[in-house]
């Protein structure tokens, strides 16, 4: 397995007027993995994704996606052939029918996978003759996902893919993501749904106020952080529990919820 990063940025910076959306982000995304991109609303996730795709230009900083420069117009065209992107607002042509939209998209990609198209049409239950204008939000999302999945992309970038999907739709989408990843596609998706991230992601990047706050493997995080609930007959002082490895303490009644990095047993011993 090669480990040349699929996405690599250095000090990526973008501001809209006085608003600094992205403030010096350094990403390094490994191939053949599923990476989740988290952050509060307005943290700069969508801006970062648009920068990666060359849809907007950074004020400063540089980045490469699949070895192509994100600032270069010619590179950007080459890049779009290899990267599939499902945007936040699922842009599609409203006046087309589902069938026309699929036919139209297909014509751009010689590598189109008819078997995936058929399979997804079937699982997503998309009505071929309906106009896109009249599709529900979830249906639009499913169609946008189908168009991205059937392209055999090297890199798949999804901006909040599960938004507007029903639970069954989410389950199907996650299954499809996993399947695509096992065929070698690198997946980079933004999300607010922690449960889905916890299930399928290998790696997590958290953006906070335009800066990368965390960049870690999910297994590593599960190893190094523990949440312990302690119940006391008489609640001790918070300072008694404070240790270097204690990240946060929250008390409620006689119960104390402690987040620990490192050795959880030491804290339990102290609590005793």
């Amino acid at each position: 397995m090669t480990s040349i990063p699929v996405i690599e940025t250095s000090e990526l910076y973008k501001s809209y007027g006085r608003v600094e959306a992205v403030r010096g982000v350094n990403l390094s995304i490994k191939p053949h993995q599923i990476t989740a991109f988290l952050g509060l609303n307005g943290a700069g996730k969508s801006t970062t994704i648009k920068l990666l795709l060359g849809m907007i230009r950074p004020n400063s900083g540089a980045g490469q996606v699949l070895g192509k420069n994100i600032n270069d117009a010619a590179d950007s065209v080459l890049l779009r052939r290899k990267v599939a992107y499902v945007s936040e607002n699922k842009q599609l042509y409203d006046y087309m029918t589902v069938e026309q939209m699929i036919g139209f998209t297909k014509s751009f990609y010689p590598d189109w996978r008819a078997e995936i198209e058929r399979k997804l049409l079937n699982t997503y239950e998309l009505p071929l003759d309906r106009r896109i204008k009249s599709l529900s939000k979830g249906m639009r999302t499913k169609l946008a996902l189908l168009l991205a999945f059937a392209r055999r992309p090297e890199l798949l970038i999804l901006d909040e893919p599960s938004e507007g999907l029903d639970p069954i739709g989410i389950e199907q989408m996650l299954e499809n993501l996993v399947a695509l990843c096992s065929e070698g596609t690198t997946v980079f998706f933004s999300s607010h749904q922690i449960p889905e991230v916890e299930r399928i992601a290998d790696h997590v990047c958290i953006l906070h106020k335009g800066c990368l706050a965390l960049d870690a493997s999910l297994d590593g995080m599960r190893h190094s952080y523990r949440q312990i609930d302690l119940v006391f007959p008489v609640l001790p002082d918070e300072s008694d529990i404070r240790m270097p490895s204690v990240e946060s303490v929250r008390t409620e009644g006689r119960q104390m919820r402690v987040v620990v990095s490192g050795d959880a047993e030491l804290v339990v011993e102290r609590a005793n």
């Binding site: 053949h32 993995q33 599923i34 069954i168 389950e171 996650l174 299954e175 996993v178 399947a179 990843c181 096992s182 065929e183 449960p195 916890e198 299930r199 399928i200 992601a201 290998d202 999910l218 297994d219 599960r222 190893h223 523990r226 949440q227 609590a271 005793n272």
Partner: protein, 199 residues
């Protein structure tokens, strides 16, 4: 925690487990928790049920075991998913649900069944290969390989299985329900910890 469960599927599988248990000497594999398939994503009849209210008996009557029912990963358990999968494969071997030479599903298949990243399955498989419990054959998948030393351990687990079954039957005859039995067993298992925290 509430989940959708397809009763028709559930009843069928446990009935099958009971039926087959009588006619061969292989152990019953008790699978607590609900697999994705039982959770009825694709099935037609749904009903709400509490996850604690039952466990599923799964009997490995052929070599084609339904793996998504054998293994159940919990993302909120605070333990890496690959470790959970490793433990469950190990447990399935110890309890006899998986036997020497049995083939495990391919990486892609299992990842899709469990809806986890394929890298999770890869990691679990390769760690277990390192331990000697699995044999990975290029292109044909993963096979269970049980060494002689592990076999005696498996024997002990079988023995324990039988004793526990008898004990539970006895307790049921005394009129205890399953919840009470579970509490008694857990209290006994966690006794040292309880004493410690009381101090």
């Amino acid at each position: 925690m509430r989940l959708c469960v397809d009763w028709s599927y559930l009843v069928e599988s446990s009935a099958h487990a009971r039926r087959s248990a009588d006619y061969e000497h292989r152990p019953i594999f008790v699978c607590t928790g609900i697999s994705k398939q039982v959770a009825g994503i694709r099935k037609t009849r749904y009903e709400d049920v509490s996850i604690d209210s039952f466990c599923i008996l799964l009997y490995p009557y052929t070599s084609t075991v339904n793996f998504s029912m054998l293994f159940r990963l919990s993302p909120i358990a605070g333990q890496p998913l690959y470790l959970q999968l490793m433990q469950q494969i190990r447990h399935a071997v110890e309890s006899g649900a998986l036997q020497h030479g049995d083939q495990l599903p391919g990486i892609r298949t299992l990842a899709e069944e469990l809806v986890v990243s394929p890298n999770t399955v890869v990691k679990a498989y390769s760690e277990l290969e390192h331990e000697g419990l699995l044999e990975l054959r290029q292109g044909s998948g993963a096979f269970v390989s049980v060494k002689r030393s592990t076999r005696s351990q498996i024997g002990r687990v079988h023995e324990a299985h039988g004793q526990v079954r008898k004990l539970i039957e006895g307790l049921r005859e005394m009129g205890l329900n399953d919840d009470e039995i579970r509490r008694v067993v857990e209290a006994e298992l966690f006794q040292p910890a309880v004493v410690m925290s009381k101090r």
